[in-house]
Assembly symmetry: C2
Homo-oligomer: 461 residues x 2
């Protein structure tokens, strides 16, 4: 928290949250003039997250000049806000002592977040220059698995023994010199460091000094374990409206605390990950380079290629039918496309509901029945529409019937597989968003082409 | 915050956050025995969000029996956690006085959230039975536009004048009887009720009583305006790691405060909305009924049907080519499918980056160039693979060349339109996730079929 006097001016702009054009122009001018004071002045009003955004959106050459000019003043918070590729680039440009100073300023959870992604030589350089206590604590955090509560947590925790009063905890806080930057509750611990209650700061402040903490503490709180996966952590915060939660080790001893801002970031990341997996994108960021993006997307496209070849193989079984009635080739993508779309709708609902734990074994069979019914109803609707369109177009009533029946079959199958595929993948212990899109589209392509072309062969030839 | 003595037992289960099977069994037994005490006992340890989940996942008949049995004990927090359709059902089942009591218990932001969705008769019943002051305040909140900061905010704010000391603010809080449940900072206001600073509670508590608030307040804070859209609010919390933020009216006067838990929910909702829009799903929840779901998805499928018919029209222009070389019908879906997939990849990245404001006018042209290059590179890669596959399959080198060229063209176009379409939709002031999927697939289908079948006509016939 800063005590600088930078008065807050209410702004009537369209988007008050984006860095303004003047700021960008001032930074540009400072870079061009190689004027460090001017750069610092331009950055003065900006939040670290905005500076990080500016760096991410700049070209590599501007980034290099920016880092060179800002130099020793580089703010560790900016590193925390950068996405991984740009951060790698920037930490590579920073002198080791600047990097160490930047890391030292940070809260312990941010230190872990930053150091875990550093290249081994930089990581060792940073670790070796920290105080022994900080270094050991940081190394302990890094011993926890990635993407667990142990990695997310802040190790500095404000605790109090059960026998303290409101006055004692306030006196303790007044005497402390190393309180964390952000904390919202005091955790009450027993002599064996097990958390036994929490007291929100607002609750402490609204009671007289003599009040024992045991009288105002909340005993119905939730603890997280260091081994909890970060998506479970985010779920708990979201589900139970937590603001902070104690983290305990295998013996139930308090080892840290996770605050809602970290949980919010995980929640956002997990939703983004699902959205990307559904679209066949892996772990890429906007600032990645052309070749690494092309390479990252290639495997997903390759899986789709296999799917497309399977669909082509199905079509090739019916070459004679197409040769006889070329209208089949014209109409067949309609059946496949509608099935694919209906399947994707169901699939997305299912993946999302699994992520938010709204789809569970308690209602899976009811949701399956519902999606099947939805597929049937919309299948029937579009069977009629497609039948009418094809009759107007080709004037062949039997062809319209074949198209309609294939449509119903494919949209019914789309609804069923749209829900079954993610359920099965989840049951198998994998992320239901992963590759389920390709599975479902393969099914709807194969069923769509097979039912339409096969039925046409029986009815029309 | 509850003071009940319900000791926290560390659980070693696979999923410590989901209600356990025993709880569900106990609720079931209580319903079957019509035993209200047993039901209350079963629900005692559960968070309102868990009870809401159980209600959502139950069938309508169980839900009715649950509400009838729980009756007067119904917890208003559970209503807040329910999704809209089930909440409508439940409020319809509750007696008006139970509903009013449930609403009275809530914080003002939750009251607004609940009352805004009530049917007019229920809404009037609730409003008429609130205290005049509460009613007027609630009606004022409802005057703000939906999905704005004015609707999200909590109206009870803990404020202090600039001349107060730490001791005075603590004394004030000790004397207050109506402090909000959750607050993390005190907002310093001038005599005209303009916010001029904030002080985190932890900061107040760690300073001696005599410290003036002006010495420890943070003047570099962010204010929100009542008219700010909720997605901008969520963005500000996420970007600037806010925990709470003052909300001001048109004259810059403090009217409320928004806390991070509300922002987190909005962030989650907005990400979910984008994910669903990309898949062609509107505003449906898992507990909606079959017919309303089928109806909600119908328009999206209809748009896709139009797209599919346009693609069919393109194919029909080349019926003669297909009649002459039926392999064209077999291979053509491969070109369309790969283009559609590559386009969806780019589109999803673009929609997400626009939502997180990582894609701006500062880097749009560079990202466009990059996506074009990625399309070209992967297009070339899959042109070779598809060419080899088709040569092995059909033994026609010219056909392979045609397939390869069409693949490159379509994947290049996919990359370009995958980024252009959402940018244009955003520029036009609409949600870039809306319908952009269909636009892009229409383009890749048309370009895919046209380039492959058209080129085949020129080269092979």
């Amino acid at each position: 928290m800063s005590d600088e006097i930078t008065p807050q001016e209410p702004e009537a702009e369209e988007d008050a949250f984006a860095p303004r054009a003047e700021v960008l122009a001032a930074i540009r001018a400072a870079l061009d003039a190689d004027d460090r004071a001017a750069l610092n002045a331009a950055l003065d009003d900006l939040h670290a997250a905005d500076i990080a955004d500016i760096l991410e959106q700049a070209g590599p050459e501007d980034r290099r000049r920016f880092v060179a000019l800002w130099g020793d003043d580089f703010d560790g918070e900016v590193l925390v806000e950068l996405d991984e590729r740009v951060r790698d680039e920037v930490t590579g440009l920073l002198a080791n002592d600047v990097l160490v100073d930047a890391v030292k300023e940070l809260d312990t959870d941010d230190q872990v977040y930053l150091v875990e992604d550093l290249d081994p030589p930089e990581r060792d350089a940073v670790l070796s220059q920290l105080d022994a206590a900080d270094r050991i604590a940081l190394e302990q955090s890094l011993d926890y698995e990635e993407e667990t509560a142990g990695r997310l947590m802040q190790r500095s925790v404000v605790t109090a023994p059960l026998h303290w009063t409101v006055g004692e905890v306030i006196d303790f806080m007044r005497a402390s010199t190393d309180l964390p930057d952000d904390f919202y509750e005091v955790i009450i611990i027993d002599p064996a460091v097990h958390p036994i209650g929490t007291v929100a700061l607002g609750r402490i402040m609204s009671h007289p000094r003599a009040t024992p903490l045991s009288e105002i503490m909340n005993e119905d709180f939730r603890t997280l374990r260091v081994t909890d996966e970060q998506e479970d952590v985010a779920y708990a915060f979201n589900q139970y409206n937590l603001v902070s939660a104690p983290v305990v080790d295998g013996e139930g001893r308090l080892v840290g605390v996770i605050t809602i801002d970290d949980a919010m970031e995980v929640l956002e990341d997990e939703a983004e990950e699902d959205m990307k997996l559904l679209a066949g994108i892996g772990d890429e960021t906007l600032s990645d380079r052309v070749l690494s993006i092309a390479k990252a997307r290639f495997p997903w496209l390759a899986v789709n290629m296999v799917n497309a070849i399977i669909a082509a193989l199905v079509i090739s079984q019916f070459e004679d039918n197409i040769q006889a009635i070329v209208a089949l080739a014209v109409l067949m993508p309609i059946v496949a496309s509608m099935g694919g779309n209906a399947g994707t709708q169901t699939l997305t609902v299912a993946v999302r509901a699994l992520a938010t734990r709204d789809l569970t074994s308690a209602n899976a069979s009811r949701i399956f029945m519902r999606e099947t019914a939805v597929g049937l109803i919309n299948g029937a609707g579009f069977a009629i529409i497609a039948g009418v369109v094809s009759f107007v177009w080709f004037g062949n009533p039997l062809l319209s019937v074949v198209l309609g029946v294939a449509m119903i079959v494919n949209m019914l199958v789309a609804g069923m597989f749209g829900i079954l595929v993610p359920l099965v993948i989840e049951k198998a212990g994998a992320d239901p968003a992963l590759a389920s899109g390709t599975f479902v589209t393969t099914v709807t392509d194969v069923v769509g082409f097979f039912s339409f072309l096969g039925l046409a062969g029986i009815v029309l030839l």
